[in-house]
Symmetry: C4
Subunit: 212 residues, 4 copies
């Protein structure tokens, strides 16, 4: 029980961020699946014809659109989180709390999606939505900044490579900041700009891995 062989094993389990990843994966997967919960079945006064159903479904098109945007956004953050935790080899409580804080806007996103889906042309709804995405980008940046400046990252080599990830996060953050500012006046344009920024980041990073 007290053998020196046991002790490092415990330390290894302690430092392992595997459970942070498992918990985060759980939150991401529930949040991404809950997006759809707000898409209610349309109701009709009588049995609808095929055409009436098409019209009703087309009317909830804006909800489906913002739902798809949120799906891509959560997917983007999941992959960003994935990339960052690839190079994190040790965890501590501050990392856990930073990670939990980052998950807060992710958990809020289904409610914000429902809000924008209901009022797609409302400036306040779009501002709240973009602000939540902005908060997620900022907090993921903080998670990475904390981990890399406190020796939790595996090697200098990896840090060098992840620095480009950091740079990408800052670019996203700046674009989101601008989008949040114009959202009260041009709600649709702000959400579109947010999506374009995310898609650009995705396209430019391609299939490259952390350690090329």
């Amino acid at each position: 029980m007290r053998s020196p062989l046991r002790a490092p094993r415990l330390t290894e389990r302690q430092e392992n961020p595997a459970r942070i990843e498992a918990f985060s994966d759980g939150v991401f997967s529930v949040a991404i699946t809950l997006l759809v919960i707000d898409i209610h079945v349309p109701s009709f006064p009588h049995a609808p014809t095929n055409l009436e159903m098409w019209v009703a479904l087309r009317d909830i098109g804006s909800k489906l659109l913002i739902f798809a945007v949120s799906f891509v956004t959560i997917g983007f953050f999941w992959i960003g989180h994935h990339l960052i935790f690839w190079s994190i080899e040790r965890s501590n409580r501050i990392l856990m709390w930073s990670n939990l804080l980052f998950l807060f806007p992710i958990v809020c996103l289904p409610a914000a999606t429902a809000l924008v889906g209901e009022y797609p042309s409302n400036g306040t709804a779009a501002t709240v939505y973009v602000a939540i995405v902005l908060a997620a980008a900022l907090l993921l940046d903080i998670v990475w900044w904390y981990a890399s400046s406190n020796g939790l990252v595996s090697s200098e080599m990896a840090r060098e490579n992840v620095r480009s990830q950091h740079r990408r996060l800052i670019v996203v953050t700046l674009i989101l900041l601008v989008a949040a500012c114009i959202a009260p006046i041009f709600p649709r344009f702000a959400i579109g700009a947010m999506l374009v920024a995310i898609l650009c980041i995705i396209a430019t990073t391609g299939s490259r891995m952390l350690v090329d």
Copy 2:
């Protein structure tokens, strides 16, 4: 920290698709459990007798039926996903995004199930439902095609065996395409054909593993 022994360890973690599997498992399990969320408790003007409750439950029978069909469908895709990722040994961002795209129709299935459950004889509802299942089959095929043609699959031997999985996916895709075409006119028949196709695939593959 800079030791060459550390670096491959990171690369190994990077290439490991374990977290894609964990995230996908999360999405599958939430989606399969959310199917039931649309089955609301029947309401009565007074305390119902046993017989009245039976009648009320029988009336929501079509919902239970399509719920069971969706359960089998999600189970089918989960097992297909499982089989494909068994032979995938490395991941990259394109694989992650293809996998996320594949999860999009899976996440949409609970809402489509609710739609068909509410309007079981509506052609548009059935078409949307079959189209979503078709999209899932196509996208899973793309995930497999990308992984196998970009060297992410573990060995030639495994690829040989998984080729039959690919063939099965194409057969399902074709049947679903036909089902989607007839769905606007024969909604119940189209969903039935979809289910029969899935059950045939399940029955013919039996308990065989990838490497027989």
Copy 3:
């Protein structure tokens, strides 16, 4: 790529039931958390006093009670599933499908819980509830029977020990069968008997592990 050293590694991953466990854990955890979703906040015509709130919460007491019963029931099946998969070392598609079938009544349980919570004295509701629990017990038994009679279980020694698990499952199944028969006439008694049977099984097995 074709090295003989790779091949067993793939086979090992294939035979590993770890992802079945992960998916099942996901379904169990979503189902057990969704139980609570039917407990709606009571509404009042005006700001309620402390006493009025107590009365309102006491009125939804039957919902809380059946929710607690379902929590214990899902916990019971999770632990049973856990014990069985401890000794399963290999998986195949039939095991996957048996496991999926077993998860079907688990996924139905939140809806059945809401039904009994709404109509606690209705015989049909109680029969449906007990029948779903009975189906789960039967199907878990089938999973175990299939695994143990097809060489998927780790060792004879373990099988000897898990035989007692099998016997316990049969006892539960029989008690549930009786409970399902009396449920139409004595709904509360049937659910009570079900709970007592589960608690007895829990109490008699104590903290013993599979391999004592």
Copy 4:
């Protein structure tokens, strides 16, 4: 099959609390994401202006506040659970059931959050909320007490270190007991005191790990 080399492997899997952690992570992540489900989109008689939307969102501010408090509380218990299971190396059925019991108040928290969000100034709602958090703290304490006094913890060294975790849990429990007593009269103050206590614990423990 009967080789002595296999047997310890099974025992190792049996004693491994990894699946308890996976199931608990699932419950925690579903519960923390379901918190948001009660935040409904405000409805308006006509298309709202930006200002009207701000006013409507500010009105649901108390819901957002208690949602944030519950988010921190569930995060606190997740990290506490994480720290405790770091040093638990073996599991048995009593540990599993204690852990399930601990998850019961966690699962109840979204419903209690909705209750306090709807009636933030009601004493009974606040009492129920604080009592549920108190139950979680007590039951996590019992999980730790059982594990440490039954040889499931990895080493004396770790126990020494986790003793401070135990002490912290008792302090939280006592503060929550006081908060539960004053909640019927000062509901907002009781929940505030609960939050302050949790934040103090978080601040004083900092980034220290179990084995310093």
